[in-house]
Assembly symmetry: C2
Homo-oligomer: 479 residues x 2
Amino acid sequence: MAVFQMGSHTHAISMTLYRDNRMKVVNELQRAHNFGADSKPVILLQGGDNISHYDTDVDYVFRQESYFTYLFGVTEPGCYGTVEIKTGRATLYVPRLPEEYAVWMGPLLGLEDFKKKYEVDTVHYVDEISKRLSEVEPSVLLLLSGPNSDSGSVAKPAYFKGIESFVADSDILFPVIAECRVIKSPAEIEVLRYVARVSSDAHKAVMKAMKPGMHEYQAEAEFLRHSYAVGGCRHVSYTCICGAGTNSAILHYGHAGSPNDCAIQDGAMCLFDMGANYGGYAADITCSFPANGKFTADQRLVYNAVLAARDAVCGAAREGVSWVDMHLLANRVMLEELRKGQLLQGDVDEMMEAGLNAIFQPHGLGHFLGLDVHDVGGYLPGCPERSSKAGVNRLRTARTLKAGMYLTIEPGCYFIEPLLNKAYADPSLSKFLVKENLDRFRNFGGVRIEDDVLITKTGIENFTLVPRTVDEIEAWMAK
Amino acid sequence: MAVFQMGSHTHAISMTLYRDNRMKVVNELQRAHNFGADSKPVILLQGGDNISHYDTDVDYVFRQESYFTYLFGVTEPGCYGTVEIKTGRATLYVPRLPEEYAVWMGPLLGLEDFKKKYEVDTVHYVDEISKRLSEVEPSVLLLLSGPNSDSGSVAKPAYFKGIESFVADSDILFPVIAECRVIKSPAEIEVLRYVARVSSDAHKAVMKAMKPGMHEYQAEAEFLRHSYAVGGCRHVSYTCICGAGTNSAILHYGHAGSPNDCAIQDGAMCLFDMGANYGGYAADITCSFPANGKFTADQRLVYNAVLAARDAVCGAAREGVSWVDMHLLANRVMLEELRKGQLLQGDVDEMMEAGLNAIFQPHGLGHFLGLDVHDVGGYLPGCPERSSKAGVNRLRTARTLKAGMYLTIEPGCYFIEPLLNKAYADPSLSKFLVKENLDRFRNFGGVRIEDDVLITKTGIENFTLVPRTVDEIEAWMAK
C-alpha cells in the first residue's frame, strides 16, 4: 500500500484517501449533471510549479496547489492529472526530466514508479498530454475556475499547448469539487486530527520554553522546530502570528513589516496563532497566555471572557446550527463577561444591536479548515450570502453546519486603539464603555482562543489538545 | 541611527550600508558614462511583492528582491526606489494602505516614519510615483534588466502606470550595479561574517544533536531553529540539503521529490549543506561527517581527499589568482589523494586531461556569495567566458580574484552511479579506476566541504567556523 509518510513516528496517509476523494467528486458530478450516456467528460487539473526568488536560481520550498493535492496527493511540481467521470480512471502526467538530472536530483522516477507511488491507473509524460488525452476522446474537459471567497482570486484553469482543440467547460467542476472539500472524509479526518495534535504539542513546547525577555520570533522558531522535527511537518499553514503585549491586538501580526521581532516583556500577554501542515492538511491554533506564566486579575478577566465565549460555542455547535448564530452567541457571551467585569455597562442585547461586539472582536468566529487554512466552500452558490452587519460581515461562511465540516472556533477580545477611539467617538457605543476601567487596558493587547473542531450530528469533536483554563495554563507553564 | 536588527543579541545593520551602496553605484555610473552636464539620470528600482499560494489568501513569507535590498534595505513589499545620479538623492515610494488596515497590521507607518526607518531623503506614496517623478524631471530612467547567469532568467525592469511618458534605458544600469555587488563593502563584510558565524554555530548544533536513526529533516529542523532563535535569521538562503548515505551524493537533494525524508543509518556519512540569511545576506556552508561520530577508514580516506583539496585552495586563493586555476587545483589534489588511497591509478595530469575530475566532482569549486547565494557578477560583459570543459563548465564564474570578492570554496567527492557507469564505459576514463577498491564505495554517497571566504590581497579570510579535520569532528561529536 502506497502512503505519504515522514518516518514511522508520523502519520501514514494512504493513497486511497485521494482515490476516495476522486470517487466522491466523480459521483457528485454525475449526480449534479446529466452528461448523457455516450458522453465522456474528463476532469483536468494542473498542479503547481516551482516559484523562484525573482530572477535567481533559488526556489521557494514547493507548495502543491490544494485542489491538485485533494485529487492526487502528488508532492512534485509540474504535473497534470485527469479523472474520467464515467469510470473514475485517473491519469497522472509528470514532467520528463533529462537523464543528467539524476546527478542533481537523485535517481529519476519512471512512469511505473509514479504509478506505484500515487496509485493512479496510468502515468504519462506531460509533453504527451495532448496526444494521450486525444486517445481518451473526452467529450468535454472539466476545468477548475471559480472565485476564492477569502482572497477574491480565481483558480487558474489548467492550460497546455493544444488544449484549444478540446471542448472545455470551466463552470461545472468548481462548485462541485469545492463542496466535496467542505465535508471531510474519515481518512481526511485522521490527517487533520494528526496535524492538530502535532500543532497542539508544538504550542505546548512553546509555552514551556517561554520566558520574559525572549523575542517573539523565538517562539515561532520553537514551534517550527517541533512541528517539523517531531511531527514531520515541513510547512506551516500560514505565517506564524506571535504577538506579545500590545502586538497581541494586531490580528495579522508577523508580516514583513512586523516580523515577530519584539522582545517580550514581563507581565505581557502572548497571543500565538500557529498551525502546522502535514501532507497539505492544515491546523490553525491560537494560544493566549501570560509570558511569565501567572495571570494578573485583568488578564484573567479578559481571558475568561473569551474562554466563556469559546465554551458556549463548543457546547452549542452541531449539525443544523447556523454559523452566524454561533458567532453572535460568542460575541454575546463575551460582552456579558466584560460587563460583569465592569469594563462595560448596560444591556448586552443593546450592545449587540449597536455593534459593540465588532469593536472588541472585529473578526469572524472561525472558518472552514482543510487543505487551505481558510478552506474553500464558504460562500458557494446556493449558500447563505455574506452579511453586511459589522463583525458578522467578516465571517468566512454563513452556512448551516453539517456533520463532517471542520472549522476553527476562535473568539477573541482585543483592545485596538483605532477601534476604541471610534467607539468613544460614537455616542451609540460610548455609553456602554466604562472609561475609568477600560483605560487600564489601553496597552493590554488581546486574547484569542482558537480550536480546530469537527462538527458531528450531536456536537463537536475538538482536535486541539492544549491547556485552556487559567489553572491548566499556569500549571503547565510552572512544570 | 537607524538599523535593521532582530534584537540586541543579533547584528545591527546600519542604514548607512545601503547609502554607501547607493553612492558606490552612483559613482561607478558616473565614471562609466558621460551623462552630460545638464542631464538628470535617475535609477529606478521596483521592490518585490507578496506572492500568494495560488488563489488563496495565504502568502509565502516575503523575500525582498536582492537589488532592491542592495540599494535600500527595505523589508516591506510593494515599494519603489529612485536614486538621482548627480546628487545621490534617494526617494522611496511606499504603498498607501487604507486606514482600516491598522486593525490587521498594527499602527501604519507614515511617510516620515519610513524616512527615519530607511534614512532616505524623501518618501512618497506609490500611487503618486508618476507625478512625483515628473517633478524631478529625469533626463532618463535607468532601469534594471539583464541576465542572471545562474538561472538564465532576466531581471524585470521596474514598471508603473505612466512610465511610458519617461525616457528609459535598460542597458546602462545592470552591468554597473552587478559589478558593484561583486566587491563587498566593509559593512557588508561584517553582515556576511555574522551570518556565516550563525550558520556555523547552527551546523555545530546539528552535529551535536546527530544520532543514527534520526531522519534527515530533523537535522534541517535543528538548523532552522538555531539560525532563527539564536541568530535572528527568519530565512535560509536556499532549501536545506540534508543527505545521508547514498543521498549525500545527490547534489540538490532536499527538493520536493526528496524532501530530506530518509532515516539516517548507523555508519552513514551525512552531507548537510545549509546556510542562514540575515537582512538578505547569505551564508552557504556544507559539513560532512559520519552520523555516528566516528569515521571509518574509507570515510577518512574520502574526507581527507576533499579536505586536502579545500586546504590547497585556501592556501593559494588571493587577489590576482584565476578561479579556474583554483578549481583545477582542487580537482588535481583530490585525484592525487584518491590515487594514494588506491581508488585510482595512473598519472593525475592524464586523469585531468581525460576529464576524470568531473566524474568525482561534477560541480564547480564555488561561486560568488552575497545577497544571493549564487551571487551576481559571474559572467558579466568583459569577464572571462564560461569554459566548455567538463567540470570547469559548471563554474559560476571564471574570473580572476580581487580583494573584496566573497566566494564559497566547496570541493566534493561523490560516488554517483550514472557518472561511475559512464566512466567505466569509457576506456579513456576506466583505465584510471581501480574497480576492486572502488566497488566498496558504490553506496558511499559523497563528501563536500564548503567554506565562505573573503578574498584579500594576500590570501583569504575564512568566515566559516566549524570543526573541519577528522579529529576536530570526532572530538566535537563526542562531547
